[in-house]
């Protein structure tokens, strides 16, 4: 009798266990995907790690069969779900990264879209070549950089679209198209800076240039003096190739003190030592200093004083083009569960520099934002991409904020961001779309006057809305 009761209990439990597992398996095979801001945790159908073209074709077929959307992701450094969508099949392109061909004479490279700039640098540096345009950090993929139409710190080069010769795109229809400025040309400005909404970039032909030796020239100055200095001394100088400026976030010199680092051409020979690709140094200590800066105002002051010393030491330092394009980034990696670092970028016409900085200072102070880092790059006017952000010769302000991840903190961040976007728009500028989707519909339309035409084109090329991300879901529908 007793034994029968125990037996019955075991059988019942086993049945319930089986029932639970069965139910669980019938539920959507949830996988959570996120991006570097870790704010948007989205339940996607699954993540497919792409290694060859067939994997992409298969994923496309599966998505159509199951009537699921597709999102395409690279290094996942966008911060507003540009590479994600609810219940989507997410293609992780990082394994699709072969270098297909290097044409040394014509200075062209053909790479699969998941290749990172780091991988490309490793392949072309021994040939004495460097990229014409890439971001000033090298951890991104080619496909991702094309999809956001990234820019770097070259003075003479616009956004990435400038250095793209042609590429192959897999459309929603399953058709593979060759796209350049002459073939299927209407897709060219849509896909570059198109946030993955038109198809999957398979591989691309990118323009290269010669690696060279640059000399760093570091000048500390007050922000009031910056516009004239930059116009007269940096842009006018035939030797300046790249430049980047940094502003202080320390309380006593907040958004006033700054540094300009210009990279000047030299005709010095590229020695092996200089040409060799540098790896990040002192990651631990920089990470620590950055951590102090996040937490304390005195940390910000200390870091700024250290940077001052550090940058002045760099004066006259020689650096290869390739190394100038691969600065440290991993010290910024941040995994606090309760806080996160948010990037934002604003493009401000060169003659509106001062009013923008004054407005920025006011908003950051009034809204008590924790601003950690401000860098400024020059982006010459380029309107080739449909969603072009540089309608004028502009300064690109890259701002890094630290915020709590709680709902009220993020809500405040959202409102402050809208103030900052309005400030940029008032100055005739724009803001960059790879980050949080805080801008309102009015703001995105004002910053990107072509956006309605962009949506229309999206629906022409992808009528079933196969390629989806949170950006389109937020504004496009």
């Amino acid at each position: 009798m007793r034994r029968r009761v125990w037996g019955l209990a075991i059988v019942s439990y086993a049945l319930l266990l089986a029932l639970s597992i069965f139910t669980r398996m019938k539920m959507p095979a949830g996988e959570y995907a996120s991006d570097v801001g870790r704010l948007m945790e989205i339940r996607v159908h699954k993540v497919v790690h792409i290694e060859q073209t067939d994997d992409i074709v298969d994923a496309l077929a599966e998505a159509k069969r199951k009537k699921l959307p597709i999102s395409v992701s690279g290094a996942r450094h966008s911060q507003g779900g540009q590479t994600l969508y609810e219940n989507a099949i997410v293609l992780d392109m990082k394994g699709y990264d072969r270098i297909l061909h290097i044409d040394e004479d014509r200075k062209l490279i053909r790479v699969q879209s998941g290749a990172t700039w780091e991988k490309i640098q490793k392949a072309i540096q021994p040939l004495g070549l460097a990229m014409r345009i890439m971001q000033s950090q090298n951890l991104f993929t080619v496909g991702g950089s094309m999809s956001v139409n990234a820019h770097g710190r070259d003075l003479g080069e616009g956004p990435l679209i400038d250095s793209v010769e042609s590429f192959r795109l897999l459309l929603a229809s399953g058709e593979k198209l060759q796209i350049s400025r002459t073939e299927n040309a209407e897709l060219f400005p849509l896909v570059i800076g198109g946030y993955g909404l038109f198809g999957i970039i398979l591989d691309a032909d990118l323009r290269l240039t010669d690696d060279a030796v640059y000399k760093k020239h570091v000048v500390p100055l007050d922000y009031q003096a910056f516009p004239e200095y930059f116009r007269e001394q940096v842009l006018r100088s035939p030797d300046s190739v790249m430049a980047i400026a940094r502003m202080s976030v320390a309380p006593d010199s907040f958004l006033k003190d700054m540094f300009v680092t210009a990279y000047l051409k030299t005709d010095e020979a590229l020695t092996e030592d200089l040409a060799e690709l540098n790896d990040e140094r002192f990651v631990g200590i920089t990470k620590f200093a950055f951590g102090l800066s996040r937490k304390f105002d005195w940390g910000k002051g200390a870091v700024w004083r250290l940077q001052k010393k550090g940058y002045l030491v760099e004066e006259e330092e020689r650096i290869s083009r390739n190394n100038a394009m691969r600065p440290a980034a991993s010290f910024m990696e941040y995994a606090d569960t309760q806080k996160t670092d948010l990037l934002q970028e604003y493009f401000i016409p060169v003659d509106r520099f001062l009013p923008f900085v004054d407005g920025l200072r006011r908003i950051v102070r009034e809204d008590e934002l924790n601003l950690l880092n401000v860098t400024i790059r020059y982006v010459p006017k380029n309107k080739e991409a449909m969603l072009s952000y540089a309608g004028h010769d502009s300064y690109a302000f890259v701002l890094l904020f630290n915020t709590k991840r709680t709902a009220p903190a993020l809500q405040r961040m959202e409102l402050s961001t809208r103030r900052l976007i309005d400030l940029a728009l008032e100055q005739g500028g724009t803001y960059y779309l790879p980050y949080q989707l805080y801008g309102t519909t009015r703001q995105i339309k004002e910053a990107y006057p072509n956006i309605d035409a962009f949506y229309v084109a999206k629906r022409v090329w992808d009528p079933g809305l196969l390629f989806m991300n949170e950006l389109y879901a937020r504004y496009g529908r």
Partner: protein, 192 residues
């Protein structure tokens, strides 16, 4: 002679009890550290985690008294068994919840079974140990249970790297169910 047999049986009962409760701690312990992740995956934030955890504690606070009294009457083993198996069944529900309110409901039930376990474990221990040696016996008992709880947290850490949280709940559930089975080895003085 008779006394010796009796003592032997008591000692073995205490050992079974320790084994069972250790397994119970283990089953709960491999899941517990990741509970926060679980609440977050459902879409909850820290506030909701706080509420879920608070519900559990508050609910069990009151019921400790209720179950303590009932166990005097109906026997403590029965409640320990109910607690182990009840929690085992709840663990089967966790992987299939989709909403934060379902977690709240589960937490309330967890509180019910938690109260049964907490009070009855202590009461039964008191019953099973002898005056004069009680401290020593409870001490020995706790060595076992604590070791298991420590091991569970470590094992949980390793397992979560290998499996999803769902699998952890299933593993935990099976262990809890087994811990209930082990109670069959625990003899209990009939309540008077």
């Amino acid at each position: 002679m008779r006394k010796q047999i009796h003592e032997g049986r008591e000692r073995s009962a205490l050992r079974w009890m320790m084994l069972s409760q250790s397994m119970m701690t283990f089953g709960g312990g491999i899941v517990f550290p990741f509970y926060l992740i679980f609440v977050k995956e459902i879409g909850g934030d820290f506030t909701e985690y706080g509420i879920a955890y608070g519900l559990f504690t508050l609910c069990s606070a009151y019921l400790n008294g209720v179950f303590g009294k009932s166990s005097d009457r109906y026997g403590r083993k029965r409640f320990l068994l109910l607690s182990a198996w009840g929690t085992a069944l709840l663990f089967l529900v966790f992987p299939i919840v989709t909403d934060i309110w379902q977690i709240y409901a589960l937490q309330i039930l967890m509180g019910v079974f938690g109260a049964m376990q907490k009070t009855c474990e202590k009461a039964l221990l008191a019953d099973m140990t002898e005056e004069g040696r009680r401290g020593e016996q409870i001490g020995r008992y706790h060595i076992g249970v604590s070791i298991c709880s420590g091991l569970a947290v470590m094992a949980g850490g390793v397992l979560i790297d290998l499996f999803t949280l769902d699998v952890m709940f299933y593993l935990g559930s099976i262990v809890l169910f087994l811990s209930g089975l082990m109670l069959s080895g625990v003899g209990e003085k009939t309540p008077t």
